[in-house]
């Protein structure tokens, strides 16, 4: 990606990733998890890590001023995950319509670079179409 990204860490399985967002609100741990669905499809979940509850929260509005760098990091993590698991496909959706729209815009903005590595499809009203 053209956008700089944060360094990230992972587990033995390589299905869970962590990185630190540094910005106006301080240091905030983000986590990205790939969970198996059916077949070779994995769901991508990401958000702020809530250590107290032991879960990822993607409804929180962090306002750390580094959204593009955070999303560039998620894209880089996805690139790594798919490069390590070449038979796998990744599914993602936003937690709200606005976030789904945001992710769609980011994919469109980086489409040439993403498509150099991956096939990209979007689902609307139950039908898939290529990006």
């Amino acid at each position: 990606m053209d956008q700089p990204h944060y360094e990230f860490e992972t587990t033995v399985s390589g299905h869970l990733f962590s990185f630190i967002s540094e910005g106006e609100q301080g240091s905030i741990e983000k986590r990205v998890q790939f969970s198996p669905m059916r077949g070779n499809v994995f769901n991508l979940a990401f958000g702020d890590w809530n250590e107290l509850e032991g879960k990822i929260d993607d409804m929180v509005v962090t306002n750390n001023g580094d959204m593009e760098q955070v999303l560039a990091t998620v894209i880089e993590i996805t690139r790594f995950f798919l490069s390590e698991n070449i038979k796998i496909s990744v599914f993602l959706t936003g937690s709200t319509p606005a976030r789904t729209r945001l992710y769609q815009m980011i994919i469109n903005k980086n489409l040439d670079i993403i498509k150099a590595d991956f096939d990209v499809a979007a689902s609307r009203n139950g039908h898939w179409r290529s990006f």
Binding site: V41, N85, I86, S89, T93, D119, W128
Partner: protein
């Protein structure tokens, strides 16, 4: 136009994360994904590469 693939960054292993391996850290999102995928069968993939 020739496509150029940029190098992929490799992460470090963080042993303190391992206790969360295999734990669904976002069950609501996982359930939502399962619901969507049940209604929308996954498209046939092009075998040339991975997909997203």
């Amino acid at each position: 136009m020739k496509k150029v693939t940029t190098p992929i960054s490799a992460p470090k292993h963080n042993p303190s994360l391992d206790k969360w391996d295999g734990v669904d850290l976002f069950p609501e999102k996982t359930a939502k994904a399962r619901e969507i995928l049940a209604k929308t069968p996954w498209p046939p993939r092009d075998e040339k590469s991975s997909s997203i």
